[in-house]
Subunit: 401 residues, 2 copies
Amino acid sequence: MLIVQKYGGTSVGDLERIESVANRAAKSKKDGNRLVVVVSAMSGETNKLVGYANHFSKNPPKAEMDMLLSSGERVTASLLAIALNEMGIDAIAMTGRQAGIKTDNNHTYARIESIDITSIIESLNDGKVIVVAGFQGISSNGRVTTLGRGGSDLSAVAIAGALKANACEIYSDVDGIYTTDPRIEPKAKKMNFISYDEMLELASLGAKVLQSRSVELAKKLNVRIVAKSSFSDAEGTIIEKEIKEMEAVLVSGIALDRDQARVTVREVSDRPGIAAEIFTMLAEEQVNVDMIIQNASTDGTTNLGFTVKESEIEDAKRVISNFDHDIGSMDFDANICKVSVVGVGMKSHSGVAAQAFSAMAKKNINIEMISTSEIKVSMIIDEKNGELAVQTLHNTYELDK
Amino acid sequence: MLIVQKYGGTSVGDLERIESVANRAAKSKKDGNRLVVVVSAMSGETNKLVGYANHFSKNPPKAEMDMLLSSGERVTASLLAIALNEMGIDAIAMTGRQAGIKTDNNHTYARIESIDITSIIESLNDGKVIVVAGFQGISSNGRVTTLGRGGSDLSAVAIAGALKANACEIYSDVDGIYTTDPRIEPKAKKMNFISYDEMLELASLGAKVLQSRSVELAKKLNVRIVAKSSFSDAEGTIIEKEIKEMEAVLVSGIALDRDQARVTVREVSDRPGIAAEIFTMLAEEQVNVDMIIQNASTDGTTNLGFTVKESEIEDAKRVISNFDHDIGSMDFDANICKVSVVGVGMKSHSGVAAQAFSAMAKKNINIEMISTSEIKVSMIIDEKNGELAVQTLHNTYELDK
């Protein structure tokens, strides 16, 4: 099998952990796999370098930041290759450039445009394990770029896609994807499989194991991801395109997102396009609006409600104050949370949402906003009811079975 | 003027020092110079990385070491570029590869083969200061290489040569080249000028400011070096090809090398080629033989004397023990030192050596071995007389005048 493994910052957090990653990679190689390993910087390194840069500037040039930050992954990659060679495994370290990862010129948040796998293939054919410095690539004008948060996952998925690898194993400090947060519902179960779309919904809802960008890329390239722990030998969760078997499962997970605040704008004048203007300006100011509801009121004005991240409340206030002449009042409520039911089974089964609403009603939990997609039902409720709602829904859909 | 500046590890040893280097570079730029700055890793960084590597292996693969070690200079270069931009100076950081430094494939001790200055010239024409990560280049197969000890000096000299820069300023923690070590002879004077050949002799004799490789390259490319301190505004010493004025100066400096040990091999059999065999095997075992004397003895055997670094005595013993059948006995003496008189003036003036021998005799200093070149007289003497010899010779040639 051709396997791409990716190890995050905590998995390579110190020299002992790098040694243990080397053991794991060596085992996979000895099991007969052809192997590419993608690594992050040792945890803490990137923050240290950012701190150095901020000593000189609050807003350092992005291209220089990329050259600075890309050094952390190079150190880990070299060290892992050295450790593997010492174990008798022929291994070679490659920078993003050497691995052929070509990006656009959007420094600190570059997008991978193509991968030239010639060097990787050559070294694989020589029987070598390839250790790639994650998170980085090279732009068309030859400068080092970085891929933004979760960038090493992106490197791994992109390489796995280009190589048509059998699997892309993403190692972190958790051993897979759970039906919900085990700290909230101790009966939460690790899933064996989850579809890209479900994972995307869960990721956007705050599941930390994988970022949406990586899952989107995996879906696009049809890369089979296995989320595993680098600290245990547990099986992990496979993330792949949905298969028949999955559809039998109605609901696969429950997610809770506490980082939500509701903005209510009252008596918005009925001038056409005013809502669009507000949301356009919010987007321009990088305020991410999540759920939206708009009610027609009786006097010709409307009320507009939407949710944002708590950290973006001040930005939202500033934007909306520009519309003083068009609105009556606005208020903000950070004491809310969003609970979501996710499952591909909803596509072919009706009644999932109704079941959720009814379960919430039985527990006297008031639902303040609702949004649904083909595979998700999200509800905004009072923050104090968040954990109860998760437990109730987990039980309703029998996710512990 | 087009200037290349190079700052060593102590000059960029912490964030405050990098700030002060930025100020110095900014001043040079504001004075109207076109500027390329080459930097080393922050002092201690390279040793830290070597320590990491040695955690995994006593003998790590050299190519992986190069990728590992090259990261230190990249960090410094990025940080300096960030600091300069914050001061309003348009600056761009470049890796060795981006600066066009192409080397052979001899990892950890690569030789610069060529420099493609296209990118540097383009950025200079855009009015930018270019900050280059020193010590590194790229091999023909696209891998990162490093240039060995003193590698950042080599980068700077090579770039200065390729750009035909007006000067290559090498900044360190000393403010120039002295007629001798000021800790031994307080009357030692900083030289305004010194020729490449004199500097080469002094460098090989232990003057730490510049390594021989860099001086050789500067001589070959006719690069004018200015050795300066990054901690003061003192003038520094100019190192360039010898000019008429220099020839008037008989002697320019006195050097003392304490790291010398004498090996004496007695009753070497008169089998032809035996001395050559001994020295060949010493060279193969990386023992650097410095001075050699061979005396014919009366009984058909000869005595062979030579000097090595003190740290290489054990290696020398091991090699010579292979010749047990061909020699009578051997002994070792680490209590010696080498004092040398250097000056291009010797080329056209006779009597310099005689003057030295006579000065030593007056102080009752016994000379045990002598070696001379066109511009140098070296003498092996008892270690306890080293400082007295330096002071005596410094006075003899009136170097304090």
